[in-house]
Amino acid sequence: MKKPTLHTKDLSLSYPSSTEKVIESANLEVNSGEIVLLLGENGSGKSTLLRGLSGLIEIDAGDVFLKEKTLSNWSKSELAREMALVLTNKQYQALLQVEEFVAFGRYPFTNWLGKLGKEDKEAVEESLVSCGLASLRHNALSDLSDGERQKVFLARALAQQAKLLILDEPTTHLDVKNTTAQLRLIKRLVEEESKTVVFSSHQFDLALQIADKVWLIEGNKVHQIKTERFYEDCIYQEILLGDSYRYDKQSKRFRITL
């Protein structure tokens, strides 16, 4: 049997400074080379789950395993080489240039002065090109549009060269053209560089097209289903979409129920 890249055992999470469970006893699994799409309403706990999976917040109960080893047993610098994040919290230093910002992804690999070596520079260059940012490299972050900045955040995560990418809404602020480009990039990364991706998105109809698996949050439970099941089973669509939007198998698209 294939060992999962990341899996959880009875994982329970709550918001900081609250005891109310946001996620309870979740048993989830991501295999190497898979794309998992995390879906749920606003405020359902998507970000909390992703933060729990990446070790940013304390776990209430249960465990998260990365390559069969609990997260707490990974050293911080080892973990940073295995897992890279894009968060919804978009603080940034206005003075930073795109290239400098992306170079922060090399943090786990550089010496104590943070000096970039040849390999580091190549990795930065590669992720700039992948994300279509080569021409913007010397722009200050404050001079970019929200959409361009979104790509910069992904580029920084890519520069970390981690196998597992955890992306919290990597397509917000992007128009359709850029959303599809971003999704295609994610798919390409998985196929060509054998990355594994867990991501959340509100543009579910587009995002579903590249996902192997869906995690769907209902209340404090997380359903783990194959993407096909989401298309086939109205129960799951009901959870995310209510009763006014359904997948129509004939036309193969989501339609408003009239």
Binding site: S77, L85, A94, Y107, T110, W112, L113, G114, S142
Partner: protein, 337 residues
């Protein structure tokens, strides 16, 4: 890269020039050549040697240490709290030192004996600053949120100020004057031994700050990203508080509170060197902070022969227009954040 070395070089030259100028101005009128002779060990008169070596040289060195320490202290606080108006005294270090001095100078006076000696004042300030630093350290071991910590620091400062006010109310004129003179700040009167203590402490803390440049840079991305890159946030935060508080504390203890340098210089360094990289900003802040304090000291001696204006007022008078200029030039002072 070449531009950056040029900036460093010009900063260094400016610092040397101001240092030399600072040796020339003072209560006794010495000419440029007379000071020059003393520095090369060929003093024409013994009195020149005494003035320059015993009084002005320690004062200039104090100015350099003071400017460097406060600027770096401010830079660290601005990074830690992601707040452009944070400075070395934001966490109440100066109020703590003030309370220590007030307790010794005013408190002892109220109880009927006097401790207003220079040594007593320094001890009081050290105890006060270390006390506040210790409270902050212990609290930050438990409180995770930096903003709570910031508010707590401001509260500690306010309580200290309130207590000082109470003691002032019950004090005699001459004790009040001794305390007020401390609050005006002074770069003068440090012995070489004291200078050694201050110098060594400042140097060690500055080196410690330099070593932390890389994680401090990562902190600019926000704590969560920094964590995801492998930074241990908690030890980093503690060390930044100790470095910043230590620098502000030691300077305040020996020179009194000196305002605005610590808030402005990091902004000037960011503007001049056009970067947020601490590996560049730290040496830049040291150079510019030292220069500004030397300039302030020179200006404090200019108005008339024989008097020197309080340094704390001068730094504020120079500092506030610079802050206003930054705000107008950049429309927003927080653009660096």
């Amino acid at each position: 890269m070449k531009l950056r070395s040029l900036s460093y070089l010009s900063g260094l030259l400016l610092l040397l020039l101001l240092f030399f100028l600072d040796l020339i101005v003072g209560s006794a009128n010495l000419s440029l050549s007379e000071v020059w002779q003393v520095l090369w060990g060929q003093a024409a008169e013994k009195s020149h040697e005494i003035i320059v070596l015993q009084s002005r040289l320690p004062k200039a060195i104090t100015a350099v240490l003071c400017g460097a320490a406060l600027s770096v202290s401010g830079l660290l606080m601005q990074t830690l709290f992601r707040n452009p108006l944070a400075g070395p005294y934001i966490l109440g270090i100066s109020s703590g030192a003030g309370l220590g001095v007030a307790l010794l100078v005013l408190g002892a006076g109220i109880l009927g004996f006097s401790m207003a000696s220079p040594f007593g004042i320094i001890m009081g300030a050290i105890l006060g600053a270390v006390g506040v630093l210790l409270i902050l350290f212990l609290v930050s071991l438990r409180i995770q949120d930096v903003m709570s910590l910031l508010i707590l620091g401001i509260m500690i400062g306010s309580i200290a100020t309130a207590l000082i006010g109470l003691m002032q109310y019950f004090s005699h004129d001459f004790q009040l004057k001794a305390f007020l003179i401390w609050t005006l700040g002074s770069l003068e009167g440090l012995s070489f031994q004291q200078l050694g203590i201050v110098g060594l402490t400042v140097l060690l803390l500055l080196l410690w700050a330099m070593v932390q440049s890389k994680p401090m840079n990562a902190l600019l991305l926000g704590e969560e990203y920094a964590k995801s890159l492998g930074v241990s946030i908690h030890p980093l935060r503690l060390s930044m508080i100790v470095i910043s508080g230590g620098l502000a504390g030691v300077i305040t203890a020996f020179c009194g509170p000196i305002g605005f340098v610590g808030i402005i210089v990091p902004h000037l360094a960011r503007l001049w060197f056009k970067t947020t990289n601490h590996l560049v900003l730290l040496p830049a802040s040291i150079l510019m902070g030292a220069s500004i304090l030397l300039l302030s000291d020179i200006l404090s001696h200019l108005p008339a022969e024989g008097i020197s204006l309080p340094i704390n007022s001068i730094t504020s008078l120079i500092g506030i227009p610079i802050i206003i200029w930054i705000i107008f030039r950049k429309r927003s002072i927080s653009a660096g954040f």
